[in-house]
């Protein structure tokens, strides 16, 4: 039986399903969905920060801005992620 990325659902010849292989595919699909989400939001934010009045093409400064914006967006993502994780741990410690 073929899965979403042309892969097997972890079934062996006996027809038994392997949780390990199923989970591998679940994780891949989650990662792909997350990457899509990230790109969509990053594009939105960087378009707003970098493109003023839309011209006939993206000029050099706009392209540079986009590249920096992407890097900063991912830096910010990591900062926020760490802050959230810390807060969750603090709240759990107080429970």
């Amino acid at each position: 039986m073929e899965g979403g990325f042309g892969s097997d659902f972890g079934g062996s010849g006996s027809g038994k399903l392997d949780p390990g292989l199923i989970m591998e595919q679940v994780k891949v699909q989650i990662a792909v969905a997350n990457a899509q989400e990230l790109l969509q939001r990053m594009t939105d934010k960087c378009f707003r920060k970098c493109i003023g009045k839309p011209g006939g093409s993206l000029d050099n400064s706009e392209q540079k801005c986009i590249a920096m914006c992407m890097d900063r967006y991912m830096d910010a993502w990591n900062t926020v992620s760490r802050a959230y994780n810390s807060r969750l741990q603090r709240e759990r410690a107080n429970m």
């Binding site: 679940v26 967006y73 830096d75 926020v80 802050a83």
Partner: protein, 83 residues
Amino acid sequence: MADLAEADEADLQRLVAAEQQKAQFTAQVHHFMELCWDKCVEKPGNRLDSRTENCLSSCVDRFIDTTFAITSRFAQIVQKGGQ
């Protein structure tokens, strides 16, 4: 899932629940980014300076504090309103 042994099915449920929790965390981070990027980042530079980093961290904490504040005050309002 007739093809899974009972132990395997329990395993799978546990693993899926763990992934769901991770996914919830990630979704929440995306949400924070929606709000906090606009509040904290001006023009993207070569790196995030410490003022921006502090702003982003504070933003997360203040949003969570706001959530608590709203939840508790709303509970009070509802309690007073429901005679």
